[in-house]
């Protein structure tokens, strides 16, 4: 399969699971852009996020394995207790270094890494959350002329994460979940 030309990276914490399910549920199984999802979770729980997403999406939901290649049609879930990085050959690297913003996986780490590889072809989406993680990564995407989208804080279950991003990136797009969903569908290359 041909390497993807762009990538969608989504981050969230409190309220992020529900919000990401909402924006992804209508995407077709052959959706043309790989999607990476970084959600904070309790360090001690061995989450079954893969099952939660697998049941509700047409896309295939998988927990990221190191060296795995990014492919369209997949939602890649960041594993608990590892940061997720992307290599230039569009494969994943995992990293168990220090927590960033009290988090591992950290949204900042993956957003920054995605923008280093995919540059202006990076689409970053920051959802509901009670943390400031993600802002500086989304800002980096914006600086690389990628697309920076923030969930409307009015609608977010917890608005800390969206507000922090809007504050640090005045030029970002603030959209509600319905608009984000429509935007993602509009990117699909039939």
């Amino acid at each position: 399969m041909a390497a993807a030309s762009n990538v969608i990276v989504i981050g969230g914490s409190w309220g992020g699971i529900q919000a990401s399910l909402t924006i992804l549920k209508n995407l077709p199984a052959n959706y043309s852009i790989p999607i990476i999802l970084v959600l904070h979770r309790l360090r001690t729980t061995e989450g079954n996020l893969q099952e939660v997403f697998g049941k509700r999406l047409a896309l295939k939901a998988v927990e990221i394995e190191e060296k795995e290649a990014l492919l369209p049609g997949y939602v890649y879930l960041a594993p608990a207790n590892y940061h997720v990085l992307i290599e230039k050959d569009h494969t994943f690297s995992l990293d168990d270094s220090e927590l960033e913003n009290y988090s591992r996986p950290s949204i900042d780490v993956t957003f920054t890494s995605a923008a280093e590889v995919f540059k202006d072809r990076t689409i970053g989406i920051l959802l509901s959350g009670a943390s400031k993680d993600g802002s500086s990564g989304l800002k980096y995407i914006f600086e690389k002329r990628g697309t920076a989208i923030v969930q409307d804080p009015e609608e977010a279950e917890i608005d800390t994460m969206p507000l922090a991003a809007i504050h640090s990136i005045p030029g970002c797009s603030v959209l509600n979940l319905e608009q984000i969903q429509a935007f993602l569908l509009s990117l699909h290359d039939h």
Binding site: T44, I64, E65, E66, K67, P79, N81, Y82, L85, I86, E87, K88, S93, L94, D95, D96, S97, E98, V109, T112, S113, E116, V117
Partner: protein
């Protein structure tokens, strides 16, 4: 074509990796690049260095500065009983088999600051195997090796380590293994009396003994496929038949050339056993 900043940075890092190899003998050419770039950028900002050129000057004029760099670029984040189910599985699936040997040899490869080493030693002690086990603990980094055998860890981590210990099937009071002192916990040094510690570089050094169990957890994630393959072959050469290999939760032998000679003992905890 005009090189942008990212491409220049990457080119300069490649040159630096070659120089480090020539000057100090450490070979990072097989390290996964996304992490290397991130660690170097992090080090530059920690040290308030403006450019790779400033870093270069520091590295080649000051070997202490280089040691410091080495410690930061090779990730040394670790914890006791990381993934308690792994240690529980060692206790229930592996140690009972190892106990049939009169003498046990274990290699803890990439032992870092010793948290895993002490976790392992506690397990061996509780299963009655510590006195007839010799553990070889190695790391690329001499600085962390000095700490590895001291067993002094931050007291703030003890609550988390205590729950890890019990989740790993701990049989005693965890606090019986250490003494608290001014914000740190000093572990019983008799736990590591049969431990040999020395520097070993998985990227360049060769096999030095044969082992019944090799632990190498969350080290291979930092290597590219070629270097991973080198390390797997090194482990295979260093493994007795029917010996065990324990990897990190997200590491696998599946893509390796030696995989056909190994069976999965515990899939979710990535414990393998060499065939006869």
């Amino acid at each position: 074509m005009k090189l942008n900043n990212d491409a220049l940075f990457e080119q300069d890092v490649e040159a630096l990796i070659r120089e480090i190899h020539a000057q100090y003998g450490y070979d990072f050419s097989g390290y996964a690049r996304a992490s290397v770039y991130r660690r170097i950028k992090r080090f530059l900002s920690q040290k308030h260095l403006n450019s790779l050129d400033d870093l270069r000057k520091g590295l080649f004029s000051d070997s202490f500065f280089f040691e410091n760099f080495l410690q930061e670029v090779t990730v040394n984040v670790t914890e006791m009983f990381r993934d308690p189910t792994f240690f529980l599985s060692l206790r229930t699936n592996v140690l009972p088999i190892l106990s049939t040997y009169p003498f046990i040899k274990i290699w803890d490869a990439g032992c870092s600051t010793g948290e895993e080493l002490f976790s392992l030693a506690i397990l061996l002690k509780e299963e009655g195997l510590l006195d007839r086990t010799k553990i070889y603990a190695t790391d690329i980094n001499q600085k962390v090796l000095k700490q590895a055998k001291e067993g002094i860890f931050s007291a703030t981590n003890m609550p988390a380590y205590t729950s890890g210990y019990y989740a790993a099937g701990g049989k005693q009071e965890f606090s019986s293994y250490y003494r608290s002192n001014y914000g740190s916990a000093k572990f019983d040094s008799s736990l590591v009396k049969n431990v040999v510690i020395y520097p070993h570089n998985l990227a360049t050094d060769s096999s030095f003994n044969e082992f019944h169990l090799i632990l190498c957890r969350n080290v291979l994630i930092y290597f590219n496929r070629e270097l991973q393959e080198r390390v797997f072959r090194l482990f295979d050469e260093s493994m007795v038949s029917l010996g065990y290999l324990g990897l990190g939760k997200k590491e696998t032998l599946a893509m390796s050339g030696i995989s056909s000679n190994y069976n999965l003992v515990d899939k979710s905890n990535r414990i393998y056993r060499k065939a006869n």
